[in-house]
């Protein structure tokens, strides 16, 4: 109850001036039949907004559904403890706040914010094998997904401009999928342990994507379709994989792997005037591969492997125009290669320091 009280207090602070209507349910039960205890709140459209709902469920196989389609500045809070619980929040008004807190195993949370502007959605899950899904349509919204534990999954889809998405997963074997359709959105994903997977798909212009993974055997995949986007991928640890696929122009991609033993960076570019920077530091047996697809022009590629051994970096391009490639490797047993087929006006610089290094350049 203390947690619930604190949460409601915090939400109230976020949305001052609400409390036009309030319904609160507390329910403690270990429920063998979830059909029997299913909470559902509905608000019919009114001129007044500021509705508040608070739900507390403890047990298993409980369901809570909140539908708020009226006014503005609505707020809902769902707290569920146990396992196999489900929470669904549908919140259309602008400037609304929804929060779902679930602790336990195999809980599910769903949040749909339709036509919402300036709203906040918070999903926090702790335990094991919980899943969260958030869909937001609108502008200037903020989504926060926090998952602590193992085998969680989070999916968030945002359609609109200037939204902010924060996803944090602490634990192993978690997955997150983030989809963005719009411009000027900011996505920040952070996965703190191992065997995690992050997939980020961006369709739009001038979006900012930051993906951080901190231990080992993690995978990051970022797909960009649009112009002027900025992508930053950070991985610290061993056996990590970062892939970035760009279809557009004037995008900036920076991937950084630190103490990255056996890690890979793969970048595919299809477009013009993109800038790709990939670094691997204090690394062994890592690889960086960049492909510039047919017909791309004026792309700049900067690759660094520093204090490293047994690493490989390679850039391959076909029918490109005026690409610039710079490679720098220090250490031993490294290999750097540039392969240019039918390209014009391209320039490549390979610099290697150390022992048993190999540079390969093929131009046809």
């Amino acid at each position: 109850m203390l947690k619930k009280t604190l949460l409601v207090t915090a939400m109230g602070a976020l949305v001052p001036g609400m409390a036009m209507a309030e319904i609160s349910y507390d329910y403690h039960h270990v429920n063998p039949d979830y059909h029997k205890y299913q909470l559902e709140f509905k608000w019919e459209p009114t001129r007044d907004g500021g509705n508040i709902s608070k739900t507390w469920q403890q047990g298993e196989k409980n369901r809570s559904k909140v539908l708020q389609s009226s006014g503005g500045e609505a707020m809902s809070t769902v707290v569920q403890f146990g396992r196999h619980n489900g929470a669904l929040v549908v919140q259309d008004p602008s400037a609304s706040v929804s929060s779902v807190l679930q602790h336990g195993t195999a809980n599910r949370a769903g949040v749909l914010m339709g036509h919402a502007d300036g709203s906040v959605s918070i999903v926090q899950q702790t335990g094991t094998a919980n899943s969260a899904g958030v869909a937001v349509y609108g502008e200037d919204n903020r989504q926060i997904i926090l998952q602590d534990g193992e085998f969680h999954s989070a999916t968030t889809v945002t359609s609109g401009d200037s939204n902010r998405i924060n996803s944090v997963q602490v634990g192993d074997n978690n997955e997150v999928l983030i989809g963005i359709f719009g411009d000027k959105n900011k996505i920040d994903n952070d996965q703190g342990d191992s065997w995690n997977l992050a997939t980020i798909d961006v369709v739009g212009d001038h979006n900012f994507v930051k993906n951080s993974q901190w231990k080992y055997d993690n995978e990051s995949g970022v797909w960009i379709s649009g112009d002027g986007n900025y992508v930053l991928v950070q991985q610290k640890g061993i056996n990590n994989t970062a892939s970035v696929d760009i279809d557009g122009g004037w995008n900036l991609v920076a991937t950084d792997q630190y103490k990255a033993f056996g890690s890979d960076i793969d970048v595919v570019v299809n477009g013009n005037e993109n800038r790709i920077q990939a670094t691997q530091q204090y690394s062994l047996n890592d690889s960086i591969d960049v492909d510039l697809n047919h017909g791309s022009s004026y792309n700049d590629i900067y690759l660094l492997q520093e204090a490293s051994g047994g690493n490989k970096m390679q850039v391959e391009m076909s029918e490109n125009n005026s690409a610039f490639v710079a490679m720098y490797q220090t250490g031993w047993n490294n290999q750097g290669g540039v392969y240019m087929y039918g390209s014009q006006g391209d320039a490549a610089v390979i610099k290697q320091e150390g022992e048993n290094n190999k540079a390969v350049s093929v131009v046809y």
């Binding site: 660094l304 710079a326 039918g342 320039a347 610099k351 290697q352 022992e355």
Partner: protein, 201 residues
């Protein structure tokens, strides 16, 4: 068509960055490789589809190897400084210009030039160095200079309409030329002591 590049060293990852500004309707390309250390290797194969292509290779240290193959309108500048280095050069196209600077001791240059209208200039300085080179094709020109001591230069020459200039300076240098060609200009000079020149026709 002349293609112009302006190359400025700026900063790449706090160490090296090269800015390339291209002008001209038809763009060429370029590659710049720098390798420092030991037992490194560079493999370069250039057969461009552009009017001209610029190559610059710099290798320093010991027991390094450069394996270079170029064809058709390539301008190459190759530096190898150190010892026990090897440059393996093959030119088989047209209108290539290759300049090689190999300095140190116990270095080796091997290679061949065929095709047409290629120009190669070699400066090899130090001691215990070796050049073993072959020329075929037509209208290919070669200018080689070996400076230092205990160096050897061996040339197998079967090209036509070519100009060859071979120079050695120092002591205990040896030169051997086998040629079976016509309409060539052969200019040989050797300065120093205990040297030898053998020409077979």
């Amino acid at each position: 068509m002349k293609t112009c590049y302006s190359i400025k060293p700026v900063c790449l990852f706090c160490t090296l960055t090269v800015s390339v500004i291209s002008s001209g309707a038809t763009s060429a390309g370029e590659i710049d490789i720098e390798q420092g250390g030991q037992r490194g290797s560079v493999l370069l194969q250039v057969s461009p589809q552009t009017p001209r292509y610029d190559v610059e290779l710099r290798q320093s240290g010991i027991e390094n190897k450069l394996d270079v193959g170029v064809s058709n309108a390539v301008d190459a500048l190759i530096h190898q400084h150190g010892s026990f280095g090897l440059i393996d050069l093959e030119l088989n196209g047209r209108n290539d210009v290759v300049i090689i600077d190999q300095a140190g001791s116990s270095n080796t240059l091997v290679g061949s030039m065929s095709g047409q209208s290629n120009n190669t200039r070699v400066d090899q300085n130090g001691r215990d160095n070796n050049i073993d080179f072959g020329i075929g094709g037509r209208s290919n020109n070669l200018d080689m200079h070996q400076g230092g001591s205990n160096n050897t230069l061996s040339l197998d020459h079967s090209t036509n309409n070519s100009q060859l200039t071979l120079r050695q300076s120092g002591h205990s240098n040896h030169m051997r030329i086998d040629h079976s060609s016509s309409n060539i200009g052969l200019n040989i000079s050797q300065d120093g002591s205990s040297g030898s020149v053998v020409v077979t026709d």
